[in-house]
């Protein structure tokens, strides 16, 4: 029995990394339910990276191809995924709570007339039922829920489900599926790429955020240099104060009215730690704070803190990280 359908994402014909997290979550639920994991990916043709999915626990990979599936188109994708999900009678349909997943999962849930648990940080099977834990009130509390829908639909918060290798015997069977074209009314005309190599704060394994302590927008270059020292895996985030002041784009804001992030390492530089900011980053695995005020609230929730002048500390840290990455 196929228990779980994992709906994956590609960009420019390559599987997005968040897909490994979704398959990891799917494997965990499928083991609890006693069934197989099927991965579904929509594209114009074969998607690079799908051959790796068996390693993370996928039993079967379905590539749904259609000329309109090159980049995300809400209506065509929603129709294709909902119809596939309906036909397969899965117990669970899983998405990533990425920008695409947050758009797609509610549409699919509405089409199937079942409930959706969004931005889930933990999943389990208890007494045969799927349960999920999700941060609410901006992470100031956790809501544990039981899903009764058939299928249960969940979208997993990016960066939380660390990909675990759970190789399946043999290669995952790859099935191509032709999906009839249907013109959607909402058309993505263009995707404007951000600066080359930029990693999104919501998905980066390392996030370095700056606040008012940086004094001037131009000083964010200190954080960008530190990010580069990590070799492309780090993103630069910002507090609400500096976004509201127009120093940084809203896309970089971490906190209650910005992004909630859960990186492996979060470095808060010149951020005092207002409750709205803490809400957006408290589920980070390790938090480092650099601030001149030893009484700043950020030191209450950080794992490691350095008190002092960030303009001296950050360049030194950049040097030390460069040494490591030699």
């Amino acid at each position: 029995m196929t228990a779980v359908l994992a709906v994956l994402e590609q960009r420019d014909g390559a599987l997005r990394k968040v897909s490994h997290e979704v398959v990891t979550g799917a494997r965990r639920l499928a083991d609890g339910l006693g069934g197989a994991v099927e991965a579904l990916i929509l594209g114009t043709g074969p998607v690079r990276g799908t051959d790796q999915l068996a390693k993370y626990g996928a039993d079967k990979v379905v590539t749904a191809t259609g000329a309109a599936f090159g980049s995300y188109a809400p209506e065509g994708f929603a129709r294709a995924v909902a119809e596939h999900a309906k036909a397969g009678e899965y117990l669970v349909v899983l998405f990533a709570a990425s920008a695409t997943g947050k758009d797609l999962a509610p549409r699919v849930a509405a089409r199937l007339r079942v409930a959706l648990a969004m931005d889930v940080t933990d999943v389990a099977v208890e007494g045969g039922a799927v349960t999920a834990t999700r941060p609410v009130y901006a992470g100031k509390a956790l809501l544990r829920v039981k899903l009764g829908g058939a299928p249960a639909i969940l979208a997993l918060r990016p960066s939380v489900f660390t990909p675990v290798e759970r190789p399946r015997p043999g290669a995952a069977a790859t099935v191509a599926l032709d999906v009839p074209e249907g013109g959607g009314r909402v058309v993505v005309k263009q995707v404007k790429a951000a600066a080359a190599g930029a990693v999104d704060v919501a998905e980066a394994p390392i996030v370095i955020s700056g606040g008012r302590g940086l004094k001037e927008p131009v000083n964010f270059k200190l954080l960008e240099e530190l990010a580069r020292a990590f070799g492309g895996s780090a993103a630069v985030g910002a507090s609400r104060a500096v976004v509201d002041a127009g120093w940084r784009p809203h896309a970089d804001q971490v906190g209650q009215t910005g992004k909630t992030v859960s990186p492996t390492l979060y470095i808060a530089v010149g951020i005092s730690g207002a409750i709205q900011h803490l809400a957006g980053m408290r589920t980070s695995k390790v938090i480092v704070a650099i601030n001149k005020d030893k009484d700043a609230p950020i030191f209450k929730i950080c794992d490691y803190g350095i008190v002092g002048d960030l303009f001296e500390i950050v360049p030194k840290l950049t040097d030390e990280i460069k040494k490591l990455h030699g």
Binding site: T100, Y137, A141, L143, R144, T283, V288, I306, K316
Partner: protein, 250 residues
């Protein structure tokens, strides 16, 4: 331009969360409630579009308890024309049930636009807007950070990981608003006074629990208080050592 804006009454973002004795909900004692911040962008956008068109109506629709009348009044004080409260004491955790009630109210309304905030800052459900669109069969763009409207069509920008999607859609449509779309106005005293006299209809609704059963509302995992590694740049080598050897994140 006939525009509906769906709003929610939520605890202020400064709220310190205290869990009620049932172990499943927020203890509302002493909590200040406000108009959901993302919905403010939706109200502001609706008012600007009506002002540009020179004619039309902005209707506020809210599902919530009787106290949400106050939340609707705050949107009316910004300049909206009238309000509808779908009154229920209990908002289900299942966003689809909320979407069904809103869709039933909005159906046949001949709206040019139906606007939502992209999410509510209490339940983080992040789903009701696109669900309403699906139930009504309308095109929908979520998390709109920039919007241009022309006769019968619109162009929106939405932030995705590492880029911006430029999306075209026909009207009528459902849009959900992202921070940055506009700068919401503060209600003027005149607006606040005028809001008291604007029509506000109350309709009782009964919602089903739907497919999500709340098991518990829990405090977040405690982070043990961290350690100050040291002061100034001299502490950096020790920090790096701890990150490598203790935390094992480098």
């Amino acid at each position: 331009m006939k525009i509906a804006v769906c709003i929610k009454r939520v605890p202020d973002s400064e709220t310190r969360v205290k869990i009620a004795p049932d172990g499943k909900s927020l203890d509302e004692a002493g909590v200040k409630f406000v108009l959901n911040p993302y919905d403010e962008f939706a109200v502001e956008e609706a008012l600007r579009r009506k002002e540009q068109a020179g004619a039309g109506e902005v209707v506020i629709v809210c599902l919530g308890p009787a106290a949400a009348q106050e939340t609707i009044r705050s949107a009316l004080a910004m300049g909206a024309d009238r309000g509808v409260l779908l009154q229920t004491d209990k908002i289900p955790a299942d966003g689809l049930e909320v979407a069904k009630a809103l869709a039933a109210e909005l159906n046949d309304g001949e709206w040019d636009l139906i606007l939502f905030g992209k999410m509510a800052i209490d339940d983080y459900n992040h789903q009701v807007g696109p669900m309403v669109a699906e139930l009504l069969g309308l095109p929908c763009v979520t998390a709109v950070a920039r919007l241009d409207l022309a006769a019968g069509t619109g162009t929106a920008e939405r932030e995705i990981e590492g880029g911006i999607e430029v999306v075209e859609f026909p009207l009528p449509a459902v849009l959900t608003t992202e921070k940055g779309l506009n700068e919401p106005r503060y209600p003027a005293l005149k607006g606040i006074m005028a809001a008291k006299k604007k029509p506000l209809a109350t309709k009782p609704v009964a919602l089903s629990t739907g497919g999500i059963e709340v098991l518990a509302l829990l405090p977040p995992a405690e982070r043990k208080e961290g350690r100050i590694v040291g002061e100034g740049p001299d502490a950096v080598p020790e920090l790096v050592r701890l990150l490598r050897e203790d935390a094992k994140v480098l």
